[in-house]
């Protein structure tokens, strides 16, 4: 508060236009003290180094390693180059690959078509300030707070064929986690259970930010609840919608923990991320082969990232 008048009193900054347009650059640098410049340089350099070191370098290294048959042991100089063999192996002779791609797509579809709209629905309900809404909010958000390892444990207690709650309650003997036709759906329910809470919270935050006068105006015009939501509120939530879309895509691409806790991503629960881990982590150490899988996953992610960036940039240009 106190520095606001100070800035305005500064004769060097007569009007905002003067600093941003012509000549602004020269005057701006004179305004910055030495310390400021160092700080700004650090603020640019440190994140840049982090991004290059922790994102770009590993990504490029993965792509490079995908052309080798490195087993993770020995100096880098001894790594043997095998060209595209890993890729042809992945596609031609690696049975879990195709189910993994299918499961990743199924994951995306399930979260997008079922879990996300349901989360939105719950957010709208909770936004009505019904009695005990805080309790429901906490209950629904709880799975997001819990670690996925714990979620896997909780659902194992429910799904276990011989000792689980579900079979005991229904009197059935369905092999929820072992039957490859069933287990992907069983896991999707668990994944959706968590995703719904996440989406609900995002929408709830968005709904609280919607200008009440919009709703009042709609009510005055005689619009029904549903019309108000779809024609007025939902369009206003556009920024939230984009975030939710991105979150959903990211969640389905990086889906990993739950299937890993259940059976390490085998037997019907294959996901590309789990296959990468199976090959790279552990005694197996087929780092070259695992990197090829990771590169394929990167390529798929790039499609979504490109679409997202294109959308956001078009938005900014407007």
């Amino acid at each position: 508060m106190s520095d606001l008048p100070l800035i305005q009193a500064d004769p060097a900054v007569s009007s905002p236009a003067a600093t941003t347009r012509k000549g602004g650059r020269g005057r701006g640098s004179r305004l910055l003290s030495r310390t400021d410049r160092v700080v700004i340089a650090l603020m640019v350099l440190v994140p840049l180094l982090l991004v290059v070191g922790l994102v770009w370098f590993p990504a490029l290294a993965t792509v490079a390693l995908s052309g080798t048959n490195w087993d993770g042991i020995g100096p880098i100089g001894e790594i043997e180059w095998v060209g595209g063999r890993n890729y042809s192996d992945v596609i031609n002779i690696y049975p879990p690959f195709v189910p993994a791609v299918q499961n990743n797509l199924l994951w995306l579809a399930a979260l997008f078509v079922v879990a996300t709209p349901f989360g939105m629905f719950l957010a709208v309900l909770l936004d009505k300030e019904i009695r005990g809404s805080r309790f429901y909010q906490t209950a629904l958000y709880l799975p997001v707070v819990l670690s996925l390892a714990l979620i896997g444990f909780v659902w194992q207690l429910i799904y276990s064929r011989d000792q689980g709650l579900l079979n005991a309650a229904l009197g059935t003997s369905t092999d929820w986690y072992g039957d490859p036709d069933v287990n992907i759906w069983a896991v999707l329910v668990a994944a959706g259970w968590r995703h719904v809470g996440y989406i609900m919270l995002l929408y709830l935050a968005g709904l609280k930010g919607v200008d009440p006068s919009l709703r009042e105006a709609a009510a005055v015009d005689g619009a029904s609840e549903a019309t108000t939501f779809f024609k007025v509120v939902f369009p206003v939530l556009r920024p939230i919608n984009i975030i939710v879309l991105v979150v959903t895509v990211i969640e389905s691409l990086r889906a990993f923990d739950l299937v890993w806790v259940v059976n390490k991503g085998r037997n019907g629960l294959e996901l590309i991320s789990a296959l990468v881990t199976q090959n790279v982590v552990g005694e197996a150490s087929r780092i070259g082969f695992g990197s090829a899988l990771a590169t394929l996953m990167l390529a798929v992610s790039l499609v979504f990232i490109t679409v997202y960036l294109a959308t956001v940039m078009r938005e900014n240009r407007k």
Binding site: F57, P58, A61, N69, D71, G72, I73, G74, P75, I76, G77, E80, R85, D89, N92, I93, Y94, P95, P96, S147, L148, A149, L150, G152, F153, Q156, L157, Y159, S160, R161, D162, Q163, S173, D175, W176, Y177, G178, D179, P180, N183, F256, D257, W260, V261, V262, N263, K264, R266, N267, Q278, N279, V281, G282, E283, A284, S285, R286, I287, F289
Partner: protein, 443 residues
């Protein structure tokens, strides 16, 4: 988001890492893993020698995968024995069993503990060949009480010893005496008798053979024993070494026989852990169970006497029924221990009669490797198991210890699970295994 590294195996004992609190070592190992990806040579190179010189320190460190309470306790007692005998203090770093195995590559290339728990077989020879294990041939010169079979199992490809065996456990068909007495079952000597017994058990309302393969590895035991019975030890070892074709009629016969036995196995095995399967035996819902001696862990103390076993019956009279899986657990030494003298002293103690005696007194679910040990404390079951292994003509280590780890975990586990859920397309399955094997066994 924390990613679980282990699959805790058993409901009652299952506590995810996030609940137990991530262990410091596993975090470090994870960090080392990242480092290893960036520059393994650098990391491996910086295991400094500076600490090994100077005055003889009075400590030695031990990396242990014995994370379950019972074996952990036994290990602590063995180390206490070493401390009394030598005056050297042991710092035990216990890591969750599965985590330890999964991080072994990074662990050995970073700064491993002076001595660490590991397994015999290809798994040991692999790291020895990569130069990641310490030569303990001179320790073997001082050891006594080991048969040639154990020495051979401790020897690397270069003829030096890299391993000191501590304990082993045979795989066999376990059953409850009381159930068999009540129903009048007889131990089957041939495959036909086994089939007949299984059919009778079904009529009596039992699952003939308990089975759980959610974790992927238990089915390897079934494959091993069938291959040993049908094609013999040498073929099995050659197959594991990648020298034989999986598409051969010999391997096909193994899967055909297995397909014939599958109806006798407990249904829906892919969603069940071995512990749950063992409990069905304990609860008298299953008639028998092919597993290691550790199956006894799922039985109460007062039920231990009721547990008995027989070796898997003969299938081909020309091959017989004298070969079996009996994996050996033991210890290896780091390539560059901080104190080589203390580390070797510890290795020697671990291979001694004294260490074996401590284990016999405290662990009823394993057998000690040293024949000089006082085994008067063995239970009847342990005595019988020791006899079984003693009379075996050949001893295999278990599929994932006899072959390349990358082949075992990324090819065999999915393939065996595929077979269990759809036992019809054996030809296609074997072609797929063979194709992947050719790609993996290149160097």
């Amino acid at each position: 988001m924390s990613r679980p590294r282990t699959q805790a195996e058993y409901l009652a004992r299952l506590v995810p890492p996030s609940v137990a609190g991530l262990r410091r070592r596993s975090l470090l190992a994870g960090a080392a893993g990242t480092g290893a990806l960036l520059g393994t040579g650098l990391l491996a190179g910086c295991g400094s020698d500076s600490e090994s010189g100077g005055a003889e320190s009075k400590t030695v460190s031990l990396g242990s995968n014995q994370s379950d309470p019972k074996p952990k306790d036994v290990l602590a007692k063995v180390m206490a024995g070493f401390q009394t005998a030598s005056g050297v203090e042991v710092a035990i770093n216990t890591v969750d069993h599965n985590t330890f195995q999964e991080n072994i590559n990074n662990y050995l290339q970073g700064k491993p503990d002076d001595v660490y728990t590991w397994f015999a077989g290809y798994r040991m020879r692999f790291f020895a060949a990569k130069g990641l294990a310490g030569d303990v041939s001179d320790v073997w010169g001082k050891l006594s009480g080991y048969s040639d079979a154990f020495k051979k199992a401790s020897t690397g490809d270069d003829g030096k010893q890299y391993f000191v065996p501590a304990s082993y456990y045979p795989w066999a068909m376990f059953y409850r005496k009381s159930v068999w007495q009540q129903r009048g079952y007889q131990v089957p000597k041939t495959l036909d008798e086994l089939n007949a017994l299984g059919a009778q058990m079904k009529r009596d309302g039992l699952n003939p053979i308990a089975f759980g393969d959610k974790d992927g590895w238990p089915a390897m035991g079934t494959f091993d024993i069938l291959n040993l019975r049908i094609n013999g030890y040498q073929f099995h070892i050659d197959l594991m070494a990648g020298k034989e074709a999986w598409t051969s009629d010999k391997v096909k016969k193994v899967f055909d026989t297995w397909a014939g036995l599958l109806p006798l196995h407990q249904a829906d095995s892919l969603g069940r852990t071995w512990q749950e399967a063992a409990q069905s035996l304990q609860q008298k819902k299953s008639g028998m169970y092919l597993l290691g001696l550790f199956v006894g862990q799922q039985f109460n103390d007062d039920e231990q006497d009721d547990l008995d076993f027989f070796t898997f019956p003969e299938i081909d009279p020309a091959i017989g029924a004298k070969a079996l899986d009996a994996p050996i657990d033991g210890y290896m030494m780091a390539r560059k221990p901080k104190s080589a003298a203390n580390a070797k002293k510890l290795m020697e103690y671990l291979g001694s009669k004294d260490a074996a005696d401590v284990t016999v007194k405290n662990d009823p679910n394993t057998l000690v490797a040293n024949s000089g040990a006082d085994v008067s404390g063995y239970t009847a079951l342990q005595k019988k198991a020791a006899e079984l292994v003693g009379s075996a003509t050949e001893i295999a280590q278990f599929l994932d210890r006899d072959t390349r780890p990358d082949f075992a975990s990324t090819v065999m586990i999915p393939a065996l699970q595929q077979f269990i859920k759809d036992p019809k397309d054996i030809g296609g399955l074997l072609t797929s295994i063979e194709n992947q094997k050719k790609s993996i066994f290149t160097d």
